[in-house]
Symmetry: C2
C-alpha cells in the first residue's frame, strides 16, 4: 500500500469515527435516566447465566451488595457458586439444589422448591441495600409453571427503584419479555457440545 493510499484510508477512517462519535454523544445525552433496570437473557445459545454472573462481577467492582438465586441449578457445585461463597459479606447466594427437572422427575417437589426459592428472591427484591439481584434460570421455573408469573412480575415491579434485576433461562414467557427494560436473545450459532466436546468446568459451570 502506497503512502497516499494509507493516508486516504486514515482520513476516511477518521471521518467515519467523527460521525460515529456525534451519533454516540447524542444518544448518550438522550439516555439520562438513572434507575434500576430489569434485564432478561433468553434464547437457546450459550451465555445467559454467564452474562448474569459477569454483571454480578461488575456490581461487586462497584461495591454493590449482590443477591443470587439459582432456580434450577445446584445439584452439583458450580464454579460461580464456589467463587461467590468466598464473599459472604458482599453476596447472598442461594442455590435451589435439586438439579435439572429431567433428573428429578418429580413435579410436586420442583413446585415446592421453586416456591421456597421465590420466597428468598422476594426478600432480596425488598431489600434496598442489595444493588443487583440475579434470578438465574428463573425462566425455566416460569415456563413449567412452578411459580406464578404474575406474582413474580409484581414482586419485580415493586423492588427498590435503584435495584437492577437480571432474569435468565430458556423459554421466557412473553409477559416477562414485555415487562423487561433490556432483553437479549442468546442465539445459538454453533456449540462445541454438538461436535462431541464435553461440558467442562470454567465453561459450562
Amino acid at each position: 500500500m502506497s503512502h497516499t493510499d494509507d493516508q486516504g484510508r486514515t482520513e476516511r477512517h477518521n471521518e467515519r469515527m467523527a460521525r460515529k462519535k456525534e451519533i454516540m454523544d447524542a444518544r448518550i445525552a438522550a439516555a439520562s435516566e438513572h434507575r434500576g433496570v430489569f434485564i432478561v437473557n433468553c434464547g437457546n445459545g450459550k451465555g445467559k447465566s454467564s452474562s448474569g454472573f459477569g454483571m454480578v462481577m461488575r456490581g461487586l467492582g462497584h461495591e454493590m451488595q449482590v443477591g443470587v438465586v439459582q432456580f434450577i441449578k445446584g445439584a452439583m457445585s458450580t464454579g460461580e457458586e464456589r467463587f461467590l461463597r468466598r464473599f459472604p459479606d458482599e453476596v447472598q447466594f442461594h442455590a435451589m439444589g435439586e438439579g435439572y427437572t429431567w433428573n428429578t422427575q418429580d413435579r410436586e417437589r420442583d413446585v415446592a422448591r421453586a416456591g421456597e426459592a421465590w420466597e428468598i428472591a422476594r426478600q432480596m427484591l425488598q431489600d434496598p441495600a442489595i444493588g443487583l439481584v440475579l434470578l438465574d434460570e428463573l425462566n425455566i421455573a416460569l415456563k413449567y409453571k412452578y411459580i406464578d408469573v404474575e406474582q413474580v412480575l409484581a414482586d419485580i415491579a415493586a423492588r427498590p427503584p435503584q435495584q437492577h434485576v437480571i432474569v435468565t433461562g430458556r423459554g421466557a414467557p412473553q409477559a416477562v419479555i414485555d415487562a423487561a427494560d433490556t432483553v437479549t436473545e442468546m442465539t445459538l450459532v454453533k456449540h462445541a457440545f454438538a461436535a462431541g466436546i464435553a461440558a467442562q468446568p470454567g465453561v459450562e459451570w
Copy 2:
C-alpha cells in the same frame, strides 16, 4: 383444578421429563472429548463481554489461572477491572486503555495499541498455566483491521490443548466464526438505552 386434572398433569410432566432425561443422557455420553474450547460472543445485543466475565468467574471458582485482555475498553475504570485487580495471583488483567475508537479518532495510534495488546494476549496463549483467556472486544479490533486476523487465529490454534479462549465483540469476521467451537450471537430484542435509561455501573461497566 380437580385432583384428577392435577394428577394427569403431573403424569404427563413426568413422562415428558423422562424422555428429556433419555435424550440428555445420550447427548452427554456422546460428548466425551475434554479439551480447551474456542468461544465467540458476537452480535448487537447486551451480554457479550459480561458472559466472558461470567466464565472468568467460573474459571476462578475451579482454581484456574485466568488471563484477560481488553482491546477497546479501558479509558474508564470498569467494575470488572476493579474487581479482578483484587486477585493478582489468579488473574492477569490488561486493559488497552484508550477507550473506544470513536473517542480517539486516531487510526495509527489504535493500530499500535492493538498490536501491543495482541503481544500480551499471545503470551497468555503460550502459557499452559493459564486455563482461560478472555480477549474482550477483540472482534472490533479485527473488524477495523487493527490486528491481522490470520495471525490471531494461528496464535489461538497454537495455544495449549486444555486452554479455553473467549473472544467477544460486534462484527466478528467470518474466519473467526468458522474457527470457533462455540458461537453465540447476542441478539438485541430491546435495550433500556433506547428508552432513555443511561448506561449504569454494574450493568454496562
